[in-house]
């Protein structure tokens, strides 16, 4: 009703007590007068809140004053059935209460609200009940300044009603202990209505009951925001909270960032709200227990009257659009708006929300890498500066690790160089792209893999985060190598290719096969020892799984074989024994989270339906097998075998988490003990998902802290002298692999830090043996001019990663100058020690894996301190002790290369091109089918 009805004279409703929440004595009077004019007046009228003036005003109007709602409830007449709560800004029409009671009873509602109109212009709507978004921010659905034309005049269920006029059943009010006094008015109303709905109460708006409201009903202040966050925490289930709270934070952050562009500054409100909640967390926890204790419905009921996305962001968006419309002519933006609307529809789906959260997680977990660069430590080394040099070195060129060798480089060098080439040559971009893509790929791949067996996308994506950031992945990355993380991200795709239903048509079959081979190729390139892992995983599924199995068990090894062709020429020359047994002995010590995973496994197997149970069992078998492999140092297996084991554990754990979450989601369908087991397994899975935060916090994708970015910078502080650093330290402390000197590790490297192509030292050759002999001579006290001897190896610096008794030997040398004030003990060789020098000792500068003559330097014999190999040239080559001398008239010397290996590398590139083309065929085939 929009016209004021003439009061017929007061009629007392025995069942209603009116409670006015007062802040201002001036406003109170008008409100109380309006209450007094009700057609059906309340039996009792109370005023709560306010100061002495409010109390005095209440006395003047001959109404009772109480300090708070609890005191009112104890003062109510026994026959009271309803409590009508109003604000002092509310001016109810004379029939407002009558409409609430009559129409509320008809709707069998426990909470009934009024239509709120603007007191300044009663034709303008303020609210007709509220929806909320998932973050409990109220949403009216009205346009600003919308005129009341009875377009909303229908009794309907809403998420919440305004505290400006709310009729509540007294028993419900008592049961819920009233509104939360610590919250702001609107948030308190939303919270109260949610708690009521959790108890099965109905909340409706009765538009026939009209209230005129003076002022703004909803504020965007920090108290309202704080109340919204508290309201969420009180009512949502743990699973919902696990994603809603972080999203609420991100949403608020986004609003804070976007707001200033529209003249709004919500940042302080945002920060204040979260800080307030941190402080009040204990009381929130107590109230949550009370709120959820008697619940009869779940979160689905709360979601029913919620809008998708963020109400606040929508308001910002609407404002922004308004401003744009004001600037641009009609029609230009309508298409944009439609597309955005379609996007918003998608955003309402939980899978999309979780998917976005996974993207945000991946970005957050790797933020240090794409902002500050890869941490340089252990085997976490950046690729070479020049992609073409790296490709040339891989394709039959010189392996520059240590004193060099013609030994084939690892395939990761070539794979990264290819990506670097398309990243405009930026190695930082290539690595960042690889790592972020591996995170995303691993998470999405796991989701796709699990979907084969009907496991939902939410469970699948969350399982994917466990794959890339769970305890096994943390151990893998914590070992100090980034390349296995890339391989890990590709493992689910390699398995997916074999296990997913085989396409019907040939184009898609070709694409699928190519995709499988490419995924397996990524695994093999970045963790060669793990190349068989997808095939083993598929085989294990064939043993314990259901449905199509054995065909996949044949496909997967074929894909691995096809992938091996991508790893030429490395795969032909690799020492497989050394690959699996090299480095430190495999011995992973898992933490308590493995036990949690075990519990999730057992419960999921017990509780799940046959499909989920089989998937969980498969994951368990993978994790168990991986654990065995990762602890098999006693059997002679080494570091890379441990990495493969950890990758298997990561995949297994992810599969178990996915199955456990799905078992939890299906618990209502299953019911009984199994349902409870399902819920418990989901709870265990949530713990594992939550544990991924520990990897995300540092932002380094689990990689150890940077150690070597600046540690050896002293060696290049005055420019690149072309000299090497001889670095001593415990093996596990040195970058890349190292040689052994009486139990102490050592290696030579090009400062300021080695790159990926120097990570793995080749088998010792003449130069390495000569250096070893020299070191033993030094130990025997037979050398006092070590600098002169080290200069022949191109070693201009000696450093230690930590204090060592060996420093005493270098400290006693006549031509080694100790450097003070550095982070590590270090000595400078007084003798000029370039890796390559020409006549007169003129140093030649490094160029890729070769050396170039400086401008103006005379040509002539060049001494190259690298392991002797006749292919150094161009010019007449001769061996000088263990090194090379090339008599050249040219300006550069380099390793001529192995033509056969170059051919194999080109063949691999051709095979890659074929696979990419087949992938394109598959994509085309898929589009055609659509």
């Amino acid at each position: 009703m929009t016209a004021q009805t003439v009061p017929q004279g007061p009629e007392t409703l025995e069942a209603v007590a009116a409670v006015v929440v007062a802040e201002s004595a001036e406003r109170l009077g008008a409100c109380l007068s309006a209450v007094g004019r009700q057609v059906y007046g309340p039996a009792q009228v109370f005023v709560i809140g306010g100061g002495a003036r409010v109390r005095a005003a209440a006395a003047r109007h001959e109404v009772l004053w109480r300090p708070h709602l609890r005191a009112v409830v104890t003062s109510l007449a026994p026959e009271t059935v309803f409590v009508w709560m109003l604000h002092d800004r509310s001016l109810p029409r004379p029939d407002a209460l009558l409409a609430l009671v009559r129409d509320g009873a008809r709707a069998e509602a426990s909470i009934v609200g009024s239509k709120v109109l603007d007191a300044a212009d009663p034709s303008v709507l303020v609210s007709v009940g509220y929806a909320t978004d998932v973050f409990d921010a109220p949403y009216t659905g009205l346009q600003p300044g919308e005129i009341d034309q009875q377009q909303y005049d229908v009794i309907r269920d809403v998420a919440a009603v305004s505290g400006a006029s709310m009729l509540v059943r007294l028993d419900l009010l008592r049961g819920l202990r009233g509104l939360d006094p610590s919250m702001a008015p609107m948030a308190a109303a939303v919270d109260f209505c949610q708690r009521a709905r959790l108890r099965g109460a109905r909340v409706v708006v009765v538009p026939s009951s009209e209230i005129l409201y003076a002022g703004r009903e909803v504020s965007a202040g920090w108290r309202e925001r704080a109340g919204e966050i508290r309201a969420m925490q009180k009512v949502y289930s743990p699973v919902t909270l696990a994603w809603a709270v972080p999203l609420a934070f991100l949403s608020g952050l986004a609003e804070s960032l976007a707001g200033p562009f529209l003249g709004r500054f919500p940042l302080f409100g945002f920060l204040g709200g979260w800080l307030w909640n941190l402080l009040f967390l204990p009381s929130t926890a107590v109230q949550r227990w009370s709120a959820r204790r008697g619940r009869v419905v779940g979160d689905e009921e709360l979601f029913r009257y919620q809008t998708g996305g963020s109400a606040r962001l929508r308001v910002l968006y609407d404002q922004g659009l308004e401003r744009l419309r004001a600037r641009f002519p009609e029609g230009v933006l309508s298409g944009f708006g439609d597309a955005l609307e379609a996007g918003q529809q998608r955003l309402r789906r939980p899978a999309v929300v979780v998917g976005l959260a996974v993207v945000a997680f991946a970005v957050l977990a790797t933020r240090d890498i794409w902002t500050a660069g890869l941490p340089v430590s252990g085997f976490s080394l950046p690729p070479p500066v020049s992609a073409s040099d790296a490709l040339g070195a891989y394709a039959g060129g010189w392996n520059p690790a240590g004193f060099g060798s013609p030994e084939v480089l690892r395939p990761e060098v070539a794979a990264t160089a290819l990506l670097q080439a398309v990243s405009f040559g930026s190695r930082g971009a290539a690595v960042a792209l690889l790592i972020v893509a591996s995170f995303l790929g691993g998470a999405i791949g796991t989701g796709r893999l699990l979907r084969i067996w009907g496991i939902g996308p939410v469970a699948g994506y969350l399982a994917g985060t466990v794959l890339m950031a769970g305890p096994a992945a943390s151990a893998l990355a914590g070992g100090g190598a980034w390349t296995p993380m890339v391989a890990l991200g590709a493992v689910p795709w390699a398995a997916l290719g074999a296990l997913a239903p085989w396409p019907a048509r040939w184009p898609r079959r070709l694409g699928r096969a190519a995709g499988m081979v490419l995924a397996a190729g990524v695994v093999g390139a970045y963790a060669p020892a793990a190349l068989p892992l997808p095939a083993v995983a598929v085989f294990l599924w064939a043993l314990v799984g259901r449905g199509r199995r054995w065909g996949a068990a044949l496909l997967a090894p074929a894909a691995a074989a096809g992938a091996a062709l991508l790893l030429m020429p490395w795969v032909l020359y690799a020492d497989l024994g050394a690959l699996y047994s090299g480095g430190g002995a495999a011995y992973w010590s898992p933490g308590w989270l493995l036990a949690v995973a075990g519990a999730a496994l057992v419960l999921a197997v017990a509780a799940g339906d046959p499909a989920v149970s089989a998937v969980a069992g498969w994951g368990g078998l993978l994790a168990a097998g991986g654990t065995l492999l990762a602890r098999s140092g006693e059997w002679g297996l080494g570091e890379e075998a441990q990495q493969v084991g950890l990758m298997a554990v990561a995949l297994g754990m992810a599969v178990v988490v996915g199955a456990a979450l799905e078992a939890g989601a299906r618990r209502r369908r299953i019911g009984g003990l199994k349902g409870t087991a399902g819920w418990l397994s989901a709870a265990a899975a949530v713990i594992l998902v939550g544990a991924t935060a520990s990897l995300a916090v540092p932002g380094r994708a689990g990689l150890p802290q940077d150690r070597y970015s600046g540690l050896l910078a002293f060696a290049t502080a005055a420019g690149d002298s072309g000299s090497r650093v001889l670095l001593f330290g415990p093996h596990e402390d040195l970058p890349g692999s190292s040689r052994d000197f009486e139990g102490l590790g050592y290696r030579v490297l090009s400062p300021p830090y080695p790159e990926t192509w120097e990570a793995h030292l080749p088998a010792p050759r003449l130069g390495d043996e000569a250096l070893d002999r020299l070191l033993h001579e030094l130990l025997g006290g037979k050398v006092r001019r070590a600098g002169e001897r080290l200069a022949a190896f191109g070693i201009g610096w000696v450093a230690f990663t930590e204090p060592s008794p060996l420093e005493a030997i270098f400290g006693a040398q006549l031509d080694m100058v100790p450097l003070r004030g550095l982070a590590v003990p270090a000595f400078r060789n007084e003798e000029p020690a370039p890796e390559a020098y020409g006549p007169g000792g003129t140093p030649w500068s490094r160029e890729g894996t070769g050396y170039r003559r400086p401008e103006g330097a005379p040509s002539g014999p060049v001494y190259v301190a690298a392991n002797a190999d006749y292919r150094w040239g161009p010019g007449r080559w001769s061996q000088v002790d263990w090194a090379n001398q090339v008599d050249t008239a040219g300006t550069a010397v380099r390793f001529a290369g192995h033509s056969g290996r170059r051919l194999l590398a080109v063949g691999s590139a051709a095979w890659l091109t074929v696979l990419a083309a087949l992938l394109g065929v598959g994509w085309w085939g898929r589009r055609r089918e659509r």
């Binding site: 314990v544 430190g584 002995a585 011995y587 075990g598 496994l601 057992v602 197997v605 017990a606 149970s613 089989a614 069992g617 368990g620 078998l621 994790a623 168990a624 097998g625 654990t627 065995l628 990762a630 602890r631 098999s632 140092g633 006693e634 059997w635 415990p730 093996h731 009486e742 139990g743 102490l744 590790g745 130990l779 025997g780 006290g781 037979k782 050398v783 006092r784 001019r785 060592s804 008794p805 060996l806 005493a808 030997i809 400290g811 006693a812 040398q813 006549l814 031509d815 080694m816 100058v817 100790p818 007084e830």
Partner: protein
């Protein structure tokens, strides 16, 4: 059933995994190796010898004597303290066995030029003899030494001068602490605490002005950081001598303690915390005088034994201390000459005497002492020169110092090979002054 089987399989695999033992801890790096801290420890076969006292001016020059039992190249390096100036260097070839000399004036004439010599083969030894107007100072260069050096035998009475040279041949700056004790007790030398010696440089401390009128001054040098090679120069108006510092030992021998026409005294310093008992036997041409002196030497209170109580020249000595090691040196003063020589801590059957040669107008002699054995020892004294060696055999009775004069014009050094352990020293005496120097022992297997 199927579920149970899968769980059982998982459990079994995990069980095996957790039953696997941890691999043994990796070996502790450098276990079992003894790595000596930086000090003066010359490699056995390619020695580096440090000559902290060498000068070449208009009035004096230094001759470096090099002996080697194997053909070797001796590379001399004299650091230059001017920044960015290259060091002065020279190389001489030494036949094996043989000897050669190098005059500093042929390399550098800039006053003080301490340096070091690298022998490409060995065993070998180097000595530096400074000769000129009113100076004849000689002693062996240093190949090895302790971290704490003692210089007994100093004195700053009127007419005497005493200078400590701190030579740092290494590229690492050093810090040393210099302390002193004398007849009046422990000397307060706060300005010599943590004294810095720049890399490849040296600095001198003049005790003549720092500690005047000390008759019995013992200086101790300890390296707090880095390594230094110290040397002491003691002189009178007519002569000076230099000597390297010594460590501590319980027995010291002085193959020559006094020569004809000189007064001599033996200075003993106890660096320990408690008193030690010292017994001195004197060796004379007529036989030994056992326990010629015995005394209790308190810590930081050096004792001087005046050898003039026993007439007869030459005189050798042997000192034994009980209760703790001591440092000891002999000082001989005569008309126109002064010589200081620290004791020899251990006997050997093979000795090298680099730089001992016939000098015009000077008498050069070597002294052999057989103090440890009751049997006579025969020793071959080989003259080493550019053309190899030639020698004579002498008998060294027990407790009697034996003098052998150097008469060969070809001598550039001497090699002594004895049938038993002896100690050897050499002297040069003449118009320039007087110099005593201990010979350099060659380690022989089994000794």
């Amino acid at each position: 059933m199927r579920r149970l089987l899968v769980l059982a399989l998982v459990g079994a695999v995990l069980g095996v995994a957790f039953l696997l033992p941890a691999p043994p801890d990796p070996r502790e790096p450098l276990t079992g190796l003894i790595i000596e801290p930086p000090g003066l420890a010359s490699p056995e076969d390619a020695g580096i010898w440090y000559c902290p006292w060498a000068q070449s001016t208009a009035l004096r020059d230094t001759v470096f004597g090099v002996v080697s039992l194997e053909e070797a190249q001796a590379a001399f390096t004299f650091p230059v303290t001017i920044p960015d100036e290259p060091d002065d260097a020279a190389t001489i070839e030494v036949p094996g066995p043989g000897a050669a000399n190098l005059a500093l004036s042929l390399v550098a004439q800039r006053g003080d030029s301490p340096g070091f010599v690298e022998l490409s083969a060995g065993p070998g030894a180097i000595a530096a003899t400074v000769m000129g107007d009113a100076v004849l100072a000689a002693d062996s260069c240093v190949a090895s030494g302790p971290r704490t050096w003692h210089f007994p035998g100093g004195s700053t009475m009127p007419g005497e001068h005493l200078t400590l040279r701190l030579f740092n041949p290494f590229p690492d700056p050093a810090k040393v602490t210099v302390t002193g004790v004398s007849d009046i007790g422990v000397e307060a030398l706060p300005e010599l605490d943590n004294l810095a010696v720049a890399a490849r440089s040296w600095r001198d401390v003049d005790f003549t002005t720092l500690l005047r009128q000390r008759q019995n001054l013992v200086i101790t040098v300890s390296a707090a950081a880095g390594v230094v090679v110290p040397a002491m120069v003691f002189g009178t108006e007519s002569d000076e001598d230099w000597w390297p510092g010594v460590g501590e030992a319980s027995e010291w021998e002085f193959p020559v303690a006094r020569v004809q026409g000189t007064d001599a005294y033996l200075v003993v310093h106890n660096p320990g915390l408690g008193p030690v008992e010292v017994v001195v036997d004197l060796m004379t041409p007529g036989g030994p005088v056992m326990e010629a002196f015995n005394a209790s030497v308190a810590p930081s209170a050096p004792v001087r034994f005046d050898l003039s109580a026993y007439p007869g020249d030459p005189l050798a000595a042997r000192l034994v201390s009980t209760g703790g090691p001591v440092a000891a040196a002999v000082v001989a003063k005569g008309e126109g000459g002064v010589a200081v020589m620290p004791g020899v801590p251990a006997a050997s059957s093979t000795w090298l005497l680099p730089g001992l040669r016939r000098v015009p107008l000077h008498a050069a002699s070597l002294w052999l002492l057989n103090a440890a054995s009751e049997e006579a020892v025969s020793a071959t004294v080989g003259v080493l020169g550019r053309d190899g060696s030639s020698g004579q055999t002498v008998v060294v009775p027990p407790g009697v110092p034996v003098q052998v004069d150097v008469t060969s014009a070809d001598a550039a050094g001497i090699l002594v090979e004895a049938s038993g352990p002896v100690t050897v020293a050499w002297t040069i005496r003449g118009p320039s002054g007087l110099a005593f120097s201990a010979a350099s022992p060659v380690a022989v297997d089994g000794e």
